[in-house]
């Protein structure tokens, strides 16, 4: 067996009440590209950030090449040969490409106390050429580059210390085809140089193609490790979800049931950087699924529908033709939006649960000029009980709640507002199974009440299990419309995605 590079033993990590990682162990050998897969919120990003020194562990032990390893920040990690590439923007806009690559590592270019920019830029040019980003100018300010080029700079930063362990955390979906090729080429380079790669993704096909072995995580717990040809998509998915795709988990019925002739919401010919001529109609009481790979443009379409992002052309309107331009107007017209990044956009963390819930419905609570606090508290407590949000009352701050309970607060917000149309972006992302089930039942009850839901999701079982109609998106276009029926299975849907 070749030498083990990374060894993790019963690692624990929890944020307040959420137990992100529990008793997790893992080994990655030399020259191995090891995948790490799991549903959103299964703890894979938390684990990788701990290995990269971005977060500290509550308990457990890490070893690199056999020696104990406890990084406090990215510098300690890169000294031990561990580097990380994340999904969000990892470069600072106001400084140059070279400065980003060598951030906090500028000492090595110091000659007589002065940074020698010539060698620094030369070195940056070299590493950029090595990773396939030779078209980038080391002196350019990062803000002037497009998203993909900025990601290449991050890859260069990670590859510069020719890492023993390169961690890629869901980066691929921020890259277009060319960028992805560069990434795979670098993974191969690390592999040949005797290093190892921890590749985190939830895109099945990419994982099977790139990784030698894969570990599956579910709700912070180690599930299994598959190697070589054991890695089959269906098997992986079952391990990921942890149960056969139980029938009653989602909707019991198999026919599309919605009021086909009353349209409540219409999007015509929406064009934007990642949406090309998207048009569809939403009917009363319908759950419309919007599926596809992470970067197929569905998330951006969701934001455009709610008026959050601008669009080149096209029109978003209700049945009676009133156009939706801004979120404030949308909310007034009864449209709700659940963002996929929950902590920063869907809910205000440093704010009490009650205030979060009543926020959109404040105008409706008003009796004349006066807005009784009693009414607010009643509405808040009423929805906290209805959704059984585990907390010590509606005065408590949202930041103290678990992921599932936070999502309940977001849902309570729009239920309190009695919004007729809900745009849900990855509604069950990073949520434990128990709450997922409640959310699905809630969606069903909303559907019965005649409300309509646009559900944007990257999880196949959820899309197939819940939607009356699925619009599969690929390369920013609606590729196929699939009606709900018992024969629909994942392979059929996936083929329109890839």
């Amino acid at each position: 067996m070749s030498k083990v590079i990374l060894k993790a033993e019963n690692v624990y990590k929890s944020f307040g009440l959420t137990k992100a990682v529990q008793n997790f162990s893992l080994e990655i050998a030399e020259g191995e590209v090891h995948g790490l897969i799991g549903e959103n919120g299964s703890g894979k990003s938390t684990f990788s950030s701990m290995v990269a020194g971005v977060q500290t562990m509550d308990a457990g032990q890490l070893f690199i090449d056999g020696e104990p390893y406890a990084p406090k920040n990215a510098i300690d990690a890169s000294e031990r040969g561990v580097s990380l590439v994340v999904q969000e923007i990892g470069t600072i806009g106001t400084i140059s490409v070279a400065a980003n690559i060598f951030i906090n590592k500028e000492k090595q270019f110091r000659k007589g106390g002065m940074i020698d920019y010539k060698t620094m830029y030369a070195e940056a040019k070299k590493i950029l050429k090595r990773i396939g980003g030779e078209h980038l100018d080391p002196a350019a300010i990062c803000a002037s580059l497009n998203l993909e080029d900025r990601k290449l700079v991050e890859i260069a930063k990670a590859m510069y210390s020719n890492p023993r362990l390169l961690i890629i955390d869901e980066t691929s979906n921020a890259l277009a085809t060319h960028g992805r090729e560069v990434l795979y080429q670098n993974i191969r380079a690390v592999k040949e140089s005797g290093g190892s790669v921890l590749f985190i993704t939830h895109d099945m096909e990419e994982l099977i193609e790139v990784c030698d072995s894969v570990t599956i995580m579910r709700d912070g717990v180690y599930v299994d490790t598959l190697r070589g040809d054991e890695m089959v998509a269906k098997r992986l998915k079952e391990l990921m979800v942890g149960r056969e795709i139980a029938d009653n988990y989602y909707r019991p019925d198999f026919e599309p049931k919605y009021d086909a002739d009353t349209v409540v919401f219409r999007a015509t010919d929406i064009c934007a950087p990642n949406a090309s001529h998207v048009s569809f109609e939403l009917h009363k009481g319908e759950i419309l699924g919007l599926g596809g790979l992470a970067d197929c443009g569905m998330h951006e379409v969701g934001r455009i529908l709610f008026g959050l992002d601008r669009k080149d052309s096209g029109r978003v309107e209700l049945a009676d033709g009133t156009e939706i331009k801004t979120p404030v107007q949308a909310i007034k017209l009864g449209v709700g939006y659940l963002s996929k990044n929950r902590d920063t956009e869907a809910v205000i963390l440093n704010y009490s649960i009650g205030d979060n819930i009543v926020m959109p419905s404040l105008p409706d609570l008003r009796k004349g000029p006066f807005m009784p606090k009693r009414a607010e508290r009643e509405m808040a407590d009423d929805w906290v009980d209805q959704l059984e949000i585990k907390c010590n009352g509606s005065k408590q701050y949202v930041k103290e709640l678990s992921g599932g309970n936070k999502q309940k607060v977001v849902l309570a917000k729009w239920l309190a507002k009695d919004s007729q149309i809900l745009i849900m972006d990855c509604p069950t992302r990073g949520i434990d199974i128990g709450v997922k089930e409640i959310i699905y039942q809630l969606m069903m009850s909303l559907k019965e009440q005649g409300k309509s839901i646009i559900m944007i999701s990257e999880e196949m079982p959820e899309l197939i299990g819940m939607s009356d109609r699925i619009l599969v998106m690929k390369d920013y276009k609606i590729n196929k419309e699939i009606l709900r029926s018992p024969e629909v299975n994942e392979q059929e849907v996936v083929q329109y995605m890839v």
């Binding site: 920040n73 400084i95 951030i103």
Partner: protein, 329 residues
């Protein structure tokens, strides 16, 4: 490509001061025509330039310290007291002593409080202003004219050039300067990359205090005397230097901070002299500077919006071209 960039740099550097100078040259040719005016301008701007250089590190890292004016005046007062016994070395010793003591106190306090430094610096201004008053019991203190050599030609130039070079090196070539810019750009990413925020801030505070001491020496030597400024009145001295840094921050895409600050401060002093030459009440210079700064920021904001728009359009174009490519197959 290289020539164009250098050209852009020169234009960006000189456009503001020359435009202002030309304006007053047209209005008052005999005053602004004489070369000696350049010399007067230079002398008047030194103290503010040096203070602005000291301030630039803290402001690039995202903190605004309003108490540097009071610190500088305290330095000049203590320098004046020491000058009575030790002569010129006394001035230098007094100013530097104040710089060290205040530097240590401020950095210790900044470690204890993680609040916007602007609010805390108002409390510092109050304290330093009154301490200055108690040090000299309110009398205005002077130094004999032979002790003012540091305010005279060769020395002011030497101090300016040395301070300028040190600032240029620290800003462009030092690890500390890179860390300040990183913290100012995106604090979370910088901290994740392992940059210690508190250590960088402490260094910035010390450098700012040292530069405030230098500017105190020149302020004292030029005026051959100084007086305590109690309450918040010392803020007007620091605002002049801050406006210089703001202007430099806007021009930082084209020219480095060191030259940017010189441009900012000198342009403001041209306006002051211009107003006096036009016999207009020189309190107008506040509104000219304020309007000037507001205009610059609004223009800067519009430029940034236009650039964001350009990036957005480019992204749409790539999507459309990719689409056509797929359609063509």
């Amino acid at each position: 490509m290289k020539a164009k960039v250098i050209g852009q740099k020169i234009v960006a550097t000189l456009i503001i001061p020359c435009a202002v100078y030309l304006l007053f040259l047209i209005l008052r040719p005999q005053v602004f025509g004489q070369t000696s005016l350049i010399w007067t301008l230079f002398n008047q701007s030194i103290a503010n330039i040096i203070m602005a250089w000291g301030l630039s590190f803290e402001m690039t890292a995202g903190n605004m310290d309003m108490s540097v004016g009071a610190e500088m005046i305290l330095g000049s007062l203590v320098g004046c007291m020491f000058a009575k016994t030790l002569g010129i070395p006394g001035i230098i010793l007094g100013a530097l002593l104040v710089a060290l003591i205040i530097g240590v106190l401020k950095s210790v306090l900044s470690a204890l409080i993680n609040m916007k430094t602007m609010i805390i610096s108002i409390a510092y201004t109050l304290i330093l202003g009154s301490v200055g008053y108690l040090v000299v019991k309110g009398e205005s203190v002077i130094i004999t004219s032979d002790q003012t050599t540091l305010g005279k030609f060769p020395y002011t130039l030497i101090i300016l050039v040395v301070a300028g070079i040190v600032m240029y090196v620290l800003d462009r070539f030092s690890v500390f300067g890179a860390h300040c810019r990183a913290l100012g750009g995106n604090e979370n990413l910088a901290v994740v990359a392992g940059i210690k925020k508190k250590t960088v801030e402490t260094k910035a505070i010390f450098i700012c205090s040292i530069y405030a001491a230098l500017s105190a020496i020149i302020y004292l030597s030029r005026g051959a005397g100084t007086a305590a400024q109690t309450g918040l009145s010392s803020m007007s001295t620091v605002f002049g230097a801050m406006t210089g840094v703001f202007i430099a921050m806007i021009l930082v895409k084209y020219i480095n901070m060191t030259v940017g600050i010189v441009v900012g401060v000198v342009s403001m002093n041209i306006i002051t002299i211009g107003l006096i030459a036009l016999n207009m009440p020189s309190s107008m210079k506040d509104s000219v500077n304020g309007g000037f700064l507001l205009l610059l920021m609004i223009i800067n904001d519009i430029i940034q919006k236009r650039e964001a728009d350009k990036l957005y359009r480019a992204a749409s174009m790539t999507r459309i071209t990719e689409e056509q490519a797929v359609a063509a197959e």
